[in-house]
Amino acid sequence: MALQSLDIARRSATTTPAPSIRETTAVAKLIDVSTCIGCKACQAACMEWNDIRDEVGTCTGVYDNPIDLTAKSWTVMRYAEVEEQGKLEWLIRKDGCMHCADPGCLKACPSPGAIIQYSNGIVDFHQENCIGCGYCIPACPFNVPRISKADNKAYKCSLCSDRVAVGQAPACVKACPTGALQFGSKEQMKDYADKRIGDLKSRGFEQAGLYDPQGVGGTHVMYVLQHADRPELYSKLPNNPSISPLVALWKGFAKPLASLTMAAVALGSLFHFVSKGPNEVSQELEDEIAKEDAK
């Protein structure tokens, strides 16, 4: 982690510039849903490289297993069966962190350095700085971070930042047998996606397109979708995701303003005191009471 300390774009709860003299190329992972066969090799590779083994769960009657992301399952395949023009389509989406260019999680995190965005676009959680408050969870438009019950730290896909730092592709990409997962510069991935989209269109998927949602500034994990006009078909992939206005309000300009107001009340009190003086009991009343007592 410290290896990459010189190419950081943003750091949670930090108001001064991050170490950023080095610029790295923006990277991206492309997930081509149309060529994914749902084999879960990527899920297995993720466990293996990151050395995490989720608890063995129970069968829920569907292919999704585990049924949701957890602190130990950073990517899961979601299987949706939808009927399009009288034909069954099995839309299999690899879910996980999207590595947003404008990450809600990082914006919300109150702990300095618990969430880092490298200049290559990867959003990484540094658990040693995480306090377990859970602010990142409601701030993520994709419902990705999970807090571990074991250590109360937040975990999610790191896009194998450790591998990428030394010029390797993420483990999931290495393992994918069909080429549904690709990794490279964001530009390259967009070009590659264009080819895939052209191919899909030629085969009758008129609405095929790239999912690189601009509401979060674009993402460093992108999907090629057959039905890009309806991302919600893919196990509720959000259409037009953005950081919730409530989160923007909570983390926006209001806070510095409120902090200044609190400081102004404190200072205002002090200056009230030094300009008006204390509100003493009047000598007149003191004397009056003393006289009553003397009687």
Binding site: P138, A254, K255
Partner: protein, 206 residues
């Protein structure tokens, strides 16, 4: 040693203890809560043993304050019902703030400003408790939308409450002879006659 046996009893020992439990827990809550509020306040986590301890402790102190506040609310509620005289006092609060309170309307045990403070703080504590529980990730898992709303409410009301509590504390410092009411429970008769004349007449029969 009692300074003067004729001093007036304003608060009993249980009332004072109750108030101090609320006051100390409030200060701890404000310091620990501000640490999460904005990075400028992050160093305050050092007072509680670091970020993780601050996150763990804050909600428990909150529960303590909420319980102590309910008890205080029940003790003082009846004395804080707004009366017509309070409205008049409030409409002329400017004179008071400007430092000359000699012509202010006669006040009972609490003046209009104190009563306003009582009801505002009661509502704030209610909102802070509800929104605080919604934010309490270690033990609760409320839906994201609710947590987002809870966070906004908790942060906004928290800042507001810190502001009005500073006013509350300052008022006690500014009006000389008031702090002792919360420390040893008594005030001088002159103090009572000047600031709460109706109450003075009620307790002295004069």
């Amino acid at each position: 040693m009692i300074r003067n046996p004729k001093d007036l009893q304003r608060y009993t020992a249980p009332e004072r203890t109750n108030h101090w439990v609320v006051g100390i827990s409030f200060i701890l809550l404000a310091l620990s809560g501000l640490a999460f509020f904005h990075p400028a306040f992050w160093p305050l986590t050092m007072l509680f043993g670091g970020g993780v301890w601050t996150r763990i402790l804050h909600p428990f102190i909150g529960v303590l304050m909420a319980v102590a506040f309910v008890s205080m609310f029940l003790r003082f509620r009846a004395l804080n019902v707004m009366q017509p005289a309070d409205k008049e006092w409030l409409s002329r609060a400017k004179e008071m703030v400007s430092g000359n309170d000699h012509n202010m309307p006669e006040q009972g045990k609490y003046n209009g400003g104190q009563k306003m403070m009582f009801w505002m703080l009661s509502i704030c504590v209610l909102l802070m408790t509800i929104s605080g529980v919604v934010l309490w990730r270690a033990y609760f898992g409320f839906p994201a939308e609710l947590v987002r709303l809870g966070a906004v409410i908790h942060a906004a009301i928290g800042a507001f409450m810190i502001g009005i509590v500073m006013v509350h504390v300052y008022a006690a410092i500014w009006v000389r002879g008031t702090i002792r009411a919360m420390v040893y429970g008594t005030v001088t008769r002159a103090w009572a006659k000047q600031h709460h004349r109706a109450w003075y007449r009620q307790v002295t029969g004069k």
